[in-house]
């Protein structure tokens, strides 16, 4: 710490001033623009492949990004695997900078500095993070060894994935829509999700200020009239439950009016073991998901 800084006690000009509501709104808008547009995404990473920048970027990544994207950028509960060569929201340096700095509307990816985790990053630090991501990403997405066409048949046929999962508007609603899964998740994650779906439950709704997303928990209730329902939790608070039953009906309950309420951190999805789904068939389904994700 530079001590001259801490002693620099000066009377500043009276920058703050009372403002009318109109000016307040304009000021807020300008302030917002200044914050979000203050960092300009130049076309190329000034650090390029500098390993030192990548190392610094790893620290930044761990402090600011690992919460969702995992320690090694291989994806976490709600953050995609960033070691994939293809990034869903753009691959160029400028794309990555924009994604990090401005976030992705409609997703859990917040703008730089608004993560509630870590501090906002400077332009330089964002580029370091991009250097780090480049250092861990695969040169090309390893084409799956599987047969995507057969995977599609399985998905909508005998493997019955589409009973609960939708791809491009076709399929069921009980489980997560898988249209973008192939572009966001590592193969290992997808395989684990099929073989052992309860190991890490998929995440559902993320609310803006809430730290933890709702998971695809299983819920069993008995309503006031004695009807029993089994399904997934869409959302929940201390007093209420929003759920979808296995017949895709929505139910909105006040918990104190229920006869019984039981929630399990176990997926409704059956675990597909080797007998139910061979290794080869699983690879075919993975290949299909990757192919869909690449579209």
């Amino acid at each position: 710490m530079n001590t001259s800084l801490s002693n620099a006690e000066t009377r500043s000009s009276r920058r703050g001033k009372k403002v009318s509501f109109l000016i307040l709104v304009c000021g807020a808008l300008l302030g917002f623009l200044a914050v979000t547009k203050g960092l300009h995404a130049q076309g190329k990473n000034p650090f390029g492949g500098d390993p030192k920048a990548a190392k610094l970027g790893e620290s930044q990544f761990r402090a600011n990004c690992a919460f969702c994207h995992g320690l090694g950028a291989r994806g976490g509960g709600r953050g995609p695997d960033l070691t994939r060569a293809q990034k869903r929201h753009g691959n160029s340096d400028a794309d990555l900078f924009r994604t990090i700095n401005e976030g992705v509307p409609g997703t859990a990816m917040p703008p730089n500095g608004a993560t509630q985790q870590g501090v906002g990053m400077t332009e330089e630090e964002i580029w370091q993070v991009i250097s780090y991501i480049r250092s861990v990403e695969k040169k090309a997405d390893a084409g799956s060894v599987g047969n995507a066409a057969h995977g599609k048949e399985l998905f909508f046929g005998t493997a019955a994935c589409s009973t609960c999962h939708m791809i491009h508007g076709k399929g069921g609603r009980l489980g997560p829509d898988l249209s973008t899964t192939g572009s966001a998740r590592s193969t290992e994650y997808i395989v684990e999700s099929v073989r052992n779906p309860s190991r890490r439950l998929a995440q559902g709704i993320s609310e803006a200020m809430k730290e933890f997303s709702q998971e695809y928990e299983t819920v069993k209730v008995e309503a006031a009239d004695g009807t029993k329902y089994v399904g997934v939790v869409l959302n929940e608070d201390h007093f209420t439950l929003q759920m979808m039953d296995t017949r895709e009906n929505l139910h909105l309950f006040e918990k104190d009016k229920l006869r019984s309420f039981e929630k399990m951190r176990e997926s409704l999805m059956p675990a597909y073991d080797q007998k139910t789904l061979s290794e080869k068939d699983l690879q075919d389904i993975v290949a299909y998901l990757l192919a869909v994700g690449a579209q």
Partner: protein, 557 residues
Amino acid sequence: MNSSFMKWRIKRRFLLTGSESSIASLGMTVLGVAALTLCAIGTCLLPSANAQVTPQRLLDSAKEPQNWLMYSGDYGGHRFSALDQINTSNAGALVPKWAYQTMAGGKFETTPLVVDGILYGTGQDNRAFALDARSGRPIWQYQRALPADIRPCCGRVNRGLAILGDKVFLGTLDSHVIALDTKTGNVAWDVTAVDYRGGYSITLAPLAIKNLVIIGVSGGEYGIRGFIDAYDTATGERKWRFYTTPGPGEPGHESWEGDSWKIGGAPAWITGTYDPATNTTFWTTGNPSPSNRGEGRAGDNLYSNSLLALDPDTGKLKWYFQFTKHDEHDYDATQVPVMVDQGEKHVILQANRNGFFYVIDRANGKLISANPYAKVTWSDSKDATGAPIARKDASPTPEGNRVCPGAAGATNWMSPTYDPQTQLFYVTAREQCDVFSTAPQPYEAGHAYYGSAYFPNDDAAPFTGALRALDPTSGKMKWEWRHPSPTWSGVLSTAGGLIFTGDAEGNFIALNAATGKALWHFQCGASVYSSPMSFAIDGKQYVAVAAGSALFTFALP
């Protein structure tokens, strides 16, 4: 109580009338017209008879329960309201009365003040406002023009104001201390506490004592050198500064390796308390920097994660107690130090971020007891004084080391409350463990300086939270109210036998203070990141809480 209500109602009627008409004309609104109208009203106004907040009124805050004169409600940090109109028998009938929208994003952490019918609050991005506490209509609004390059660690937040005389005091994200005129919001004085570019910011509500306004800085994530400052409320002149990392020749300096004290952190970012009987103000400090890496700062790292007893006149240290020595898990001790008298014993209660509930002798800083109130794995033993000691193997590792509580702590800055009626201490507990993983980085002024990363790890069960009622004499839990997920809401107790708190799911909840049974709730539409308060106007009690971008008030129909 009613007769005192009458008195202050009469006193403030004149101002409110004037302000309401000025707001009405502002609403119509061309700037010039508004300015003219204000002038016209200004010249019409006779010198006001509004009572100002004197140092004596702050000392006697218990005598005016209709007002909320400081961040924690009183100098003891109790966050207790003596109002009892809303009570266990009627709380179920509470209804929203008004909401005030800042229209700002991010966490809305303010605890407003209420003085004689006027509510003073702060919003994100250093907004400040004065409202008609009966209607929620603004009397004035202020927003600081902040530099574009501020990067406060944990949101563009502010937790509130202090008031004294005809001024309210605001600490800013660019590390200024500002006095605003209570009637106009005009800037009365503006001083730079420190250059924000070193990673400093101010987010706490200042504390007014006598003729001084006391602040501390945030910035434990940047390798700052923390301090607590006192400014003359009339002029803004700085009267003293207490550096929370001792320099060469000062006691405690030897607790830092080499020059690490210069960037040793130890910010003071939560409002202190004050004991007029001994003329001592109690402040708490945050983590040493880098926050999650002990290498390079061998030693206890005084006065990080400590409770400090300071002389408010001089800033001289009377004694200290360090909760977490040589911290590597971000266990800031920045929880309001609550003063409680247990018969002859005068103590400080603190449910610390590190998971232990400490009782400390207020006369000398000696530890009386430390009992866990949440899951703890960082410590499994105590020293001769009974203070928890860190496990050797709890340090962050390259692969990641799972430790409870996580970096956000078993609690955090959200206020606890002490209810003198139940004699219980109520705290928001977070059951969340983190994986701490090294991420070494060089120090660079104004840049993040953590030394490690942390993120939640809940292999076994989802993280939860709970409001816990603790008995300060035994350290035992009396009851708990489970939250579905960890929350950042503070707690208010009232003489109506009630506890008010919020949750991450957006509910604002009233509970029976004796039993923990929920009596009422309201869905605010966004997670609650603030500590509630209560006030009364026209003999009607209100409870207020900030959530999302709105300040909500509730009362009986």
